[in-house]
Symmetry: C2
Subunit: 109 residues, 2 copies
DNA sequence: GTACAATTCAACCAAATGGTTAAATTAAGT
DNA sequence: ACTTAATTTAACCATTTGGTTGAATTGTAC
Protein backbone atom coordinates (compact mmCIF):
# COMPACT_ATOMS: atom_id res chain seq x y z
CA UNK A 1 0.00 0.00 0.00
CA UNK A 2 1.19 3.45 -0.88
CA UNK A 3 2.05 5.79 1.97
CA UNK A 4 -0.30 8.72 1.66
CA UNK A 5 -1.59 10.54 4.72
CA UNK A 6 -5.34 10.92 5.13
CA UNK A 7 -4.93 14.67 4.63
CA UNK A 8 -3.12 14.06 1.34
CA UNK A 9 -5.91 11.81 0.12
CA UNK A 10 -8.49 14.37 1.20
CA UNK A 11 -6.66 17.00 -0.83
CA UNK A 12 -6.16 14.67 -3.79
CA UNK A 13 -9.80 13.63 -4.11
CA UNK A 14 -11.03 17.11 -3.30
CA UNK A 15 -8.88 18.44 -6.14
CA UNK A 16 -10.47 15.93 -8.50
CA UNK A 17 -14.01 16.74 -7.35
CA UNK A 18 -14.41 19.77 -9.60
CA UNK A 19 -14.99 19.76 -13.33
CA UNK A 20 -12.90 22.84 -14.02
CA UNK A 21 -9.91 21.27 -12.28
CA UNK A 22 -10.41 17.93 -14.06
CA UNK A 23 -10.52 19.73 -17.40
CA UNK A 24 -7.31 21.53 -16.53
CA UNK A 25 -5.66 18.19 -15.76
CA UNK A 26 -6.82 16.71 -19.05
CA UNK A 27 -5.49 19.75 -20.90
CA UNK A 28 -2.17 19.38 -19.11
CA UNK A 29 -2.00 15.69 -20.00
CA UNK A 30 -1.51 16.93 -23.58
CA UNK A 31 1.48 19.00 -22.52
CA UNK A 32 2.53 21.92 -20.36
CA UNK A 33 0.70 25.21 -20.56
CA UNK A 34 0.65 28.74 -19.19
CA UNK A 35 -1.96 30.00 -16.75
CA UNK A 36 -3.48 32.25 -19.40
CA UNK A 37 -3.80 29.39 -21.88
CA UNK A 38 -5.41 27.21 -19.23
CA UNK A 39 -7.84 29.96 -18.30
CA UNK A 40 -9.00 30.87 -21.82
CA UNK A 41 -11.51 28.01 -22.38
CA UNK A 42 -13.18 28.56 -18.99
CA UNK A 43 -15.61 31.40 -18.60
CA UNK A 44 -14.42 32.64 -15.26
CA UNK A 45 -11.85 35.18 -14.13
CA UNK A 46 -8.13 34.50 -14.28
CA UNK A 47 -8.03 34.87 -10.52
CA UNK A 48 -10.51 32.00 -10.19
CA UNK A 49 -8.41 29.74 -12.42
CA UNK A 50 -5.34 30.73 -10.45
CA UNK A 51 -7.14 29.55 -7.30
CA UNK A 52 -7.97 26.22 -8.94
CA UNK A 53 -4.31 25.83 -9.84
CA UNK A 54 -3.53 26.49 -6.19
CA UNK A 55 -5.79 23.60 -5.19
CA UNK A 56 -4.20 21.29 -7.76
CA UNK A 57 -0.74 22.32 -6.59
CA UNK A 58 -1.52 21.72 -2.91
CA UNK A 59 -2.83 18.32 -3.90
CA UNK A 60 0.54 17.69 -5.53
CA UNK A 61 -1.02 17.18 -8.96
CA UNK A 62 0.80 19.99 -10.75
CA UNK A 63 3.76 22.29 -10.38
CA UNK A 64 4.34 25.79 -11.62
CA UNK A 65 7.61 27.34 -12.69
CA UNK A 66 8.26 30.82 -13.91
CA UNK A 67 9.59 31.06 -17.45
CA UNK A 68 10.12 34.66 -18.44
CA UNK A 69 6.96 36.54 -17.58
CA UNK A 70 4.82 33.40 -17.75
CA UNK A 71 4.00 30.71 -15.24
CA UNK A 72 4.35 27.34 -16.92
CA UNK A 73 2.16 24.62 -15.44
CA UNK A 74 2.92 20.90 -15.59
CA UNK A 75 1.38 17.68 -14.37
CA UNK A 76 3.51 16.33 -11.54
CA UNK A 77 4.53 12.88 -12.67
CA UNK A 78 5.79 11.77 -9.27
CA UNK A 79 2.54 12.58 -7.51
CA UNK A 80 0.46 11.10 -10.31
CA UNK A 81 2.31 7.85 -9.89
CA UNK A 82 1.47 7.75 -6.19
CA UNK A 83 -2.12 8.65 -6.93
CA UNK A 84 -2.26 5.93 -9.53
CA UNK A 85 -0.98 3.36 -7.07
CA UNK A 86 -3.54 4.36 -4.50
CA UNK A 87 -6.33 4.16 -7.04
CA UNK A 88 -5.09 0.73 -8.13
CA UNK A 89 -5.22 -0.48 -4.56
CA UNK A 90 -8.83 0.54 -4.28
CA UNK A 91 -9.62 -0.91 -7.66
CA UNK A 92 -8.30 -4.21 -6.35
CA UNK A 93 -10.05 -3.84 -3.02
CA UNK A 94 -13.36 -3.04 -4.66
CA UNK A 95 -12.72 -5.61 -7.36
CA UNK A 96 -12.49 -8.28 -4.68
CA UNK A 97 -15.80 -7.17 -3.26
CA UNK A 98 -17.17 -7.34 -6.77
CA UNK A 99 -15.81 -10.82 -7.26
CA UNK A 100 -17.22 -11.92 -3.93
CA UNK A 101 -20.63 -10.75 -5.07
CA UNK A 102 -20.29 -12.50 -8.37
CA UNK A 103 -19.24 -15.72 -6.62
CA UNK A 104 -22.31 -15.39 -4.44
CA UNK A 105 -24.50 -14.97 -7.50
CA UNK A 106 -22.86 -18.00 -9.11
CA UNK A 107 -23.57 -20.11 -6.04
CA UNK A 108 -27.19 -19.04 -6.04
CA UNK A 109 -27.63 -20.28 -9.58
CA UNK B 1 -14.82 5.86 -22.01
CA UNK B 2 -17.47 5.44 -19.37
CA UNK B 3 -20.54 7.69 -19.51
CA UNK B 4 -20.56 9.60 -16.28
CA UNK B 5 -21.86 13.16 -16.13
CA UNK B 6 -19.61 15.84 -14.70
CA UNK B 7 -21.98 16.18 -11.76
CA UNK B 8 -21.71 12.45 -11.06
CA UNK B 9 -17.94 12.64 -11.07
CA UNK B 10 -18.07 15.68 -8.79
CA UNK B 11 -20.22 13.72 -6.37
CA UNK B 12 -18.07 10.60 -6.66
CA UNK B 13 -14.76 12.31 -5.94
CA UNK B 14 -16.32 14.56 -3.34
CA UNK B 15 -17.60 11.47 -1.55
CA UNK B 16 -14.09 10.02 -1.55
CA UNK B 17 -12.52 13.26 -0.29
CA UNK B 18 -13.26 12.59 3.37
CA UNK B 19 -11.48 10.16 5.65
CA UNK B 20 -14.59 9.16 7.57
CA UNK B 21 -16.37 8.23 4.35
CA UNK B 22 -13.33 6.35 3.00
CA UNK B 23 -13.13 4.37 6.25
CA UNK B 24 -16.80 3.52 5.93
CA UNK B 25 -16.21 2.23 2.40
CA UNK B 26 -13.29 0.10 3.55
CA UNK B 27 -15.41 -1.33 6.37
CA UNK B 28 -18.17 -2.11 3.89
CA UNK B 29 -15.71 -3.83 1.56
CA UNK B 30 -15.51 -6.49 4.28
CA UNK B 31 -19.26 -6.98 4.15
CA UNK B 32 -22.58 -5.27 4.79
CA UNK B 33 -23.22 -3.45 8.04
CA UNK B 34 -25.84 -1.49 9.93
CA UNK B 35 -25.66 2.27 10.47
CA UNK B 36 -25.01 1.77 14.16
CA UNK B 37 -22.12 -0.61 13.53
CA UNK B 38 -20.63 1.79 11.00
CA UNK B 39 -20.94 4.68 13.43
CA UNK B 40 -19.39 3.00 16.49
CA UNK B 41 -15.67 3.38 15.58
CA UNK B 42 -16.09 7.08 14.71
CA UNK B 43 -16.25 9.60 17.50
CA UNK B 44 -19.08 11.68 16.14
CA UNK B 45 -22.85 11.59 16.48
CA UNK B 46 -24.99 9.02 14.72
CA UNK B 47 -26.66 11.86 12.85
CA UNK B 48 -23.29 12.90 11.44
CA UNK B 49 -22.55 9.37 10.22
CA UNK B 50 -26.05 9.22 8.75
CA UNK B 51 -25.21 12.37 6.80
CA UNK B 52 -21.98 10.80 5.51
CA UNK B 53 -23.99 7.80 4.37
CA UNK B 54 -26.26 10.22 2.56
CA UNK B 55 -23.28 11.62 0.67
CA UNK B 56 -22.05 8.12 -0.22
CA UNK B 57 -25.53 7.15 -1.35
CA UNK B 58 -25.97 10.23 -3.56
CA UNK B 59 -22.59 9.42 -5.09
CA UNK B 60 -23.99 5.97 -5.87
CA UNK B 61 -21.34 4.23 -3.80
CA UNK B 62 -23.69 2.49 -1.35
CA UNK B 63 -27.30 1.56 -0.91
CA UNK B 64 -29.40 1.17 2.20
CA UNK B 65 -32.25 -1.22 2.78
CA UNK B 66 -34.39 -1.62 5.84
CA UNK B 67 -34.18 -5.04 7.52
CA UNK B 68 -36.38 -5.18 10.60
CA UNK B 69 -35.59 -2.10 12.66
CA UNK B 70 -32.12 -1.74 11.14
CA UNK B 71 -30.84 -0.06 8.03
CA UNK B 72 -28.41 -2.40 6.31
CA UNK B 73 -25.76 -0.68 4.23
CA UNK B 74 -23.95 -2.20 1.23
CA UNK B 75 -21.36 -1.18 -1.30
CA UNK B 76 -23.06 -0.70 -4.65
CA UNK B 77 -21.25 -3.03 -7.01
CA UNK B 78 -22.70 -1.54 -10.16
CA UNK B 79 -21.56 1.97 -9.35
CA UNK B 80 -18.19 0.75 -8.16
CA UNK B 81 -17.65 -0.88 -11.50
CA UNK B 82 -18.36 2.39 -13.31
CA UNK B 83 -16.08 4.24 -10.92
CA UNK B 84 -13.39 1.66 -11.53
CA UNK B 85 -13.63 2.09 -15.26
CA UNK B 86 -13.37 5.83 -14.98
CA UNK B 87 -10.35 5.55 -12.73
CA UNK B 88 -8.75 3.11 -15.17
CA UNK B 89 -9.21 5.57 -17.98
CA UNK B 90 -7.39 8.23 -16.04
CA UNK B 91 -4.71 5.81 -14.98
CA UNK B 92 -4.11 5.13 -18.64
CA UNK B 93 -4.32 8.81 -19.57
CA UNK B 94 -1.90 9.80 -16.86
CA UNK B 95 0.23 6.77 -17.52
CA UNK B 96 0.71 7.95 -21.08
CA UNK B 97 1.83 11.33 -19.82
CA UNK B 98 4.18 9.49 -17.51
CA UNK B 99 5.54 7.41 -20.36
CA UNK B 100 5.96 10.49 -22.51
CA UNK B 101 8.05 12.04 -19.76
CA UNK B 102 10.11 8.91 -19.38
CA UNK B 103 10.69 8.76 -23.14
CA UNK B 104 11.82 12.36 -23.00
CA UNK B 105 14.25 11.52 -20.23
CA UNK B 106 15.49 8.54 -22.19
CA UNK B 107 16.17 10.73 -25.24
CA UNK B 108 18.08 13.23 -23.13
CA UNK B 109 20.44 10.52 -21.93
C1' DG C 1 -51.19 0.96 22.60
C1' DT C 2 -46.90 1.92 25.37
C1' DA C 3 -42.24 1.83 25.66
C1' DC C 4 -37.94 1.26 23.61
C1' DA C 5 -34.31 1.03 20.06
C1' DA C 6 -32.44 2.47 15.44
C1' DT C 7 -32.25 5.99 12.42
C1' DT C 8 -33.41 10.23 10.16
C1' DC C 9 -34.94 15.08 10.00
C1' DA C 10 -34.71 20.02 11.25
C1' DA C 11 -32.61 23.90 12.82
C1' DC C 12 -28.58 25.72 13.79
C1' DC C 13 -23.38 26.98 13.61
C1' DA C 14 -18.41 27.63 12.20
C1' DA C 15 -15.37 26.87 8.59
C1' DA C 16 -14.28 26.00 3.79
C1' DT C 17 -15.39 26.52 -1.19
C1' DG C 18 -15.84 28.82 -5.57
C1' DG C 19 -16.60 32.80 -7.46
C1' DT C 20 -16.13 38.15 -7.96
C1' DT C 21 -13.41 42.78 -8.50
C1' DA C 22 -9.64 45.80 -7.53
C1' DA C 23 -4.93 46.40 -6.10
C1' DA C 24 -0.20 44.49 -5.90
C1' DT C 25 3.60 41.92 -7.92
C1' DT C 26 6.94 40.59 -11.36
C1' DA C 27 9.32 40.49 -15.69
C1' DA C 28 9.89 42.39 -20.57
C1' DG C 29 10.30 45.87 -23.93
C1' DT C 30 11.30 50.46 -25.08
C1' DA D 1 12.56 54.82 -15.30
C1' DC D 2 7.74 53.88 -17.71
C1' DT D 3 4.46 50.94 -19.66
C1' DT D 4 2.45 46.97 -20.51
C1' DA D 5 1.45 41.99 -19.96
C1' DA D 6 0.92 37.85 -16.88
C1' DT D 7 -0.29 36.37 -12.66
C1' DT D 8 -1.26 36.49 -7.71
C1' DT D 9 -3.13 38.54 -3.52
C1' DA D 10 -6.69 40.67 -0.75
C1' DA D 11 -11.15 41.63 0.55
C1' DC D 12 -15.49 40.35 -0.04
C1' DC D 13 -19.87 37.40 -0.80
C1' DA D 14 -23.16 33.39 -1.30
C1' DT D 15 -23.36 28.56 -0.88
C1' DT D 16 -21.91 24.14 0.77
C1' DT D 17 -19.80 21.27 4.22
C1' DG D 18 -19.34 18.76 8.39
C1' DG D 19 -20.55 18.85 12.71
C1' DT D 20 -23.94 19.62 16.80
C1' DT D 21 -28.47 18.81 19.58
C1' DG D 22 -33.27 17.77 20.07
C1' DA D 23 -37.57 16.27 18.01
C1' DA D 24 -39.79 13.08 14.76
C1' DT D 25 -40.12 8.54 12.52
C1' DT D 26 -40.36 3.59 12.11
C1' DG D 27 -40.30 -1.13 13.65
C1' DT D 28 -40.14 -4.65 17.77
C1' DA D 29 -41.50 -6.38 22.00
C1' DC D 30 -44.27 -6.28 25.75
Amino acid sequence: MVKLSARSLDRLFHALADQTRRKILVTLSRGESTVGELARPHKMSLAAVSKHLGVLETAGLIDRKRVGSFQVVNLRAESLQTANKWLSFYEKCWGQKLNALQDLLEKKK
